[in-house]
């Protein structure tokens, strides 16, 4: 039985075009040109209890809009949503008590006070009984190992510590569903990893259903079994993560910097089927290469040239999106159409 169900969910934003200048302002008083932007288009979703689902897509794909509709912050234009049997946009308190949302860039902590102060307020807001509150707080403080930061002014915390506090603040009332919108944005690698570990634990331990958005594949990779790819407001992939990675994330981006000015023979690139050289100057080169060739090209280069530093990264999500489209044989025109409607084509 799905806890989150949407059917043909659509959100249109209406914008008004205005010509610049005073004349434009006056004109727009009487006659405004409407521009409809479809942020989410006929979206179907079915998520079961206890699932950990990753929602990925490039910036502006509609991930945040979807989360905002599921949490009732904005109302859908068309279609059906049911979360835990509630219609989120009715904004019933009983529903609000059963979920939590963390938005990477919107803090609910009071910066001038300690995190513990904010938790006390949340205790009242959610009407958590004293005993339960103590128990939850202890559990999370131990899990996140943040006991020494609990009584420190929030504004003096590092970004990573603050995000842990945000998560505790969201989880303190023991929600059934946790919505996470870009929770790792701006965090360093260590903090990102820690947070991923906690989320995994919470999902397993408390059977909390988690829906997480990100535009980093890395986030999703270590967390979710199921992955949904969104672009231009449309769901283009919904299925197992491993399949997605095997099939569509076919390339790696390798960046190499050299100790001295170096020119790599283009024959080397050709030999390894490097298609796309992203950046090249005498001290640095970065290119994208099929996954299975990554190892051998590095081995070969290490022997040939003086390498200062080397990094291997996953490719940009937009490439994955592109490949999914390609495979589905979406007609070119159709793709452009979606791109324009979503006001985004990377």
């Amino acid at each position: 039985m799905g806890v989150i169900i949407t059917d043909e969910l659509t959100k249109n934003y209406i914008r008004f075009k205005k010509e610049e200048g005073l004349r434009g302002s006056i004109k727009s008083l009487f006659n405004r040109e409407k521009v409809i932007k479809t942020a989410i288009n006929s979206f179907n979703l079915n998520i079961d209890e206890g699932e950990f689902v990753g929602l990925i897509g490039p910036n502006g794909a509609g991930k945040t809009t979807l989360i905002k509709m599921l949490t009732g912050i904005i109302s859908p234009s068309e279609g059906y949503i049911s979360v835990l049997g509630y219609q989120p946009n009715e904004l019933k308190d009983e529903y609000k008590r059963q979920f939590a949302v963390v938005m990477g860039q919107k803090s609910q902590l009071f910066f001038e006070l300690t995190a513990a102060d904010t938790f006390l307020l949340l205790k009242e807001i959610y009407g958590i009984p004293e005993k339960e509150y103590r128990k939850s707080l202890e559990y999370f403080v131990e899990l996140f190992s943040v006991s020494e930061y609990l009584n420190v002014q929030v504004r003096t915390l590092s970004l990573g510590e603050r995000m842990k506090m945000e998560l505790i603040a969201a989880l303190i009332h023991n929600p059934k569903i946790l919505f996470l919108d870009e929770p790792t944005i701006g965090l360093d690698a260590i903090a990102q990893k820690q947070i991923r570990t906690f989320l995994k634990e919470v999902n397993r331990d408390r059977r909390t259903t988690i829906l997480l958005t990100s535009h980093y594949m890395e986030d999703i990779k270590s967390l979710c079994c199921r992955c949904i790819v969104v672009n231009g407001g449309i769901k283009i992939y919904d299925g197992s993560l491993s399949e997605l990675l095997n099939k569509y994330q076919t390339h790696r981006v390798i960046s190499i910097s050299f100790e001295e000015a170096t020119q790599i023979d283009s024959a080397v690139f050709d030999a390894f089927k490097v298609l796309d050289i992203i950046e090249q100057n005498p001290y640095k080169v970065s290119f994208s290469i099929p996954k299975d060739k990554a190892r051998s090209i590095i081995t070969s280069l290490i022997n040939d040239v003086n390498i200062n530093d080397i990094s291997i990264e996953e490719e940009d999500i937009s490439n994955v999106v592109e490949r999914i489209y390609a495979e589905k044989n979406v007609v070119k025109a159709g793709y452009d159409d979606i791109g324009v409607r979503g006001e985004r084509r990377v």
Partner: protein, 265 residues
């Protein structure tokens, strides 16, 4: 049960606001200094005008003092309870910070309104009480429990009305990008009505300040009720218009939330 929860929640908001405020010691009594000088200046102004005339629109000096004291009291209570909460609404709508308020299982408008209780305005409430006391001491008047009670009810009603209009103006931000012009207008009209007892308005001004933007009745009707033989109609009018405005406010705010576009992160 629900009431107790709401009260505990409000108390918590108040406590947190107080601890946040401790960080800024001087501005703690900011409202007291700013609004205090404003009403002081107004008292002086009428004091000097009354040196030249006996009555203005039929009101004696003491009545005028009482009027100013009443306005000051309503203003001070408003400042203390919800002013700073309500004026922050447009910014929260524009920045998308409202998301956090909407997703909490408490009344959104209530939460927004009372999270910035300003205890530093309390001296202003006391000062207003002094103005009222002083004006009464200057005249022979019969107190009855009925009058005092009625006056208190009216002041509280007008406090709600003031709150309603403030919220309505700020709710417009859900539908348009900027309503700062309206907020300026509000400021100007309140200052105007603070200085002119409603009884002086005639014609178009009367319709404007008694019906459309009823700032004109806020301190006027309580003052009239206290001094004039019997203005039951005024009493009923004040209650009725506040009721209508409150219903509209609640409906309008709900409509606003439905229209909330939530600026992206």
């Amino acid at each position: 049960m629900r009431l107790i929860m709401t009260m505990r929640f409000t108390y918590m908001l108040f406590k947190m606001k107080l601890s946040r405020n401790m960080a800024f010691r001087f501005s703690f009594f900011g409202v007291f200094f700013v609004d205090g000088t404003m009403f002081l200046v107004q008292l002086l102004m009428f004091n000097y005008i009354y040196a030249h005339v006996e009555t203005i629109g039929g009101w004696s000096r003491e009545q005028m003092l009482f009027f100013i004291g009443t306005f000051s009291l309503i203003n001070a209570l408003n400042m203390m309870l919800c002013f700073f909460g309500v004026i922050s609404i447009p910014e929260k709508i524009r920045s998308g910070k409202l998301d956090l308020y909407i997703t909490k299982p408490v009344n959104t408008l209530f939460y927004l309104s009372f999270e910035n209780i300003d205890i530093g305005s309390l001296p202003l409430v006391l000062a207003s009480g002094c103005i009222l006391g002083y004006s009464i001491s200057g005249m022979v008047i019969q107190f009855t429990a009925f009058k005092i009670l009625g006056y208190i009810v009216l002041v509280l009603t007008m406090l709600v009305l003031h709150y309603d209009i403030m919220v309505i103006i700020r709710t417009i931000t859900f539908f348009v990008i900027r309503a700062t012009g309206l907020e300026r207008l509000e400021g100007e009209l309140i200052t105007l009505c603070m200085k002119i007892p409603g009884i002086l308005f005639k014609g178009g001004f009367k319709i404007l300040f008694y019906l459309l933007l009823p700032y004109g009745i806020m301190a006027t009707i309580p003052t009239q009720f206290f001094f004039e033989a019997m203005s039951l109609s005024g009493f009923v009018y004040a209650i009725a218009i506040t009721f209508i405005f409150t219903c509209f406010t609640l409906w309008f705010f709900r409509l606003g939330i439905k229209n909330y576009k939530s600026a992206s992160s």
